[in-house]
Symmetry: C2
Subunit: 198 residues, 2 copies
């Protein structure tokens, strides 16, 4: 059974892939809107994890809609959730796609699909959506990460990561300047995987 894991190069999507590895044929998939080389950043991390990786080119109209959302809302939650849902739906359209996974944890608030969004995706596309970390709280995830990954943590503007936020920030920077990013995205700690501990 093959599973496609939405992959940002951070500790959560990496740990999700590691949890699936004994039970599925894992491929890491990084969504990209051709605005920043996030696919290459993620490919480098994937090689450290020794897991196959590919870049999935997404319709730039999705990023455009997300941009409109965040400018309207003044905060990123809905925009990030929208990109996440569209990423899963776009991937679900691929031939033979059966299992799509991500690194969502029990305590996550964004991006998170609701129960009815999950049901709708599974029914419409005949795929299973897996969140291997969903049943684990912060402490348990941290313990597992400590056993399996060497990570670097920094504030979100100091770390080059391949999540949805990166290209959304870039688009806003291009159109409104760097200062507007600070107003829209509260600073938060992000992680990047440096090495896998085997």
């Amino acid at each position: 059974m093959k599973v496609s894991v939405l992959f940002s190069g951070g500790k959560d999507s990496s740990m999700a892939a590691i949890l699936l590895e004994p039970f599925f044929e894992v491929e890491l998939v990084t969504c990209n809107f051709s605005l920043l080389p996030t696919g290459e950043i993620a490919a480098e991390v994937a090689s450290r994890l020794e897991l196959p990786h590919r870049i999935f080119n997404m319709d730039s109209g999705i990023l455009e809609s997300a941009y409109e959302m965040i400018m309207r809302d003044g905060f990123p939650k809905n925009a990030i959730n929208y990109i996440h849902q569209k990423a899963i739906e776009s991937l679900a359209l691929e031939d033979g796609m059966k299992f799509i996974a991500d690194g969502t944890r029990r305590d996550d608030r964004v991006p998170v699909l609701t129960a009815s969004q999950i049901q709708s995706i599974e029914d419409r596309f005949s795929v299973s959506y897996l969140c291997p970390l969903q049943g684990y709280g912060r402490n348990a995830v941290n313990q597992m990460v400590k056993n399996h990954l060497m990570i670097r943590e920094a504030l979100s503007d100091d770390i080059s990561k391949a999540d949805y936020e990166a290209e959304l920030r870039e688009l806003i920077k291009l159109r409104h300047g760097v200062d507007s990013i600070e107003k829209l995205f509260p600073p938060h700690v992000q992680s990047k995987v440096i090495e896998r501990i085997k």
Copy 2:
């Protein structure tokens, strides 16, 4: 890292243990109120899984309170949830207990702890509560079970299982006769593991 998995001999708690096995030192734990030999039934299944198993004797006052709940409510949900919560709390009191897991799935309704019950248990007892199947829907769990377990499925009164329901049913049978069980417990399909596929 050692994890204690609440174990009924059914497919969900078995699959949860199998998912944890590559990452934790797994022990299976079956709670028992000394009314039925559910511990022995579960021990037999555990030996098929080739995982260590022990019986955890629970205070019969817990079963008594659950009995009062189901007789008052007329349905088993609150009683089963109560036993489940008390099982986790009782186990959490053991020396050195750090990780407690169960076979709760994404689509389960009973027994399920609420987010605040989980937070409360983790904070009060300094344990992590893990639900490895929480991020998997029915179809994904069925696929994994098919790959790893041979199971037998039957209506709940035709299968000898080691879940909380078994002893609660027995207590009601002893006090009110076999007919009262049918009124309180809607018939539902239960599973028992026959063999592990390796």
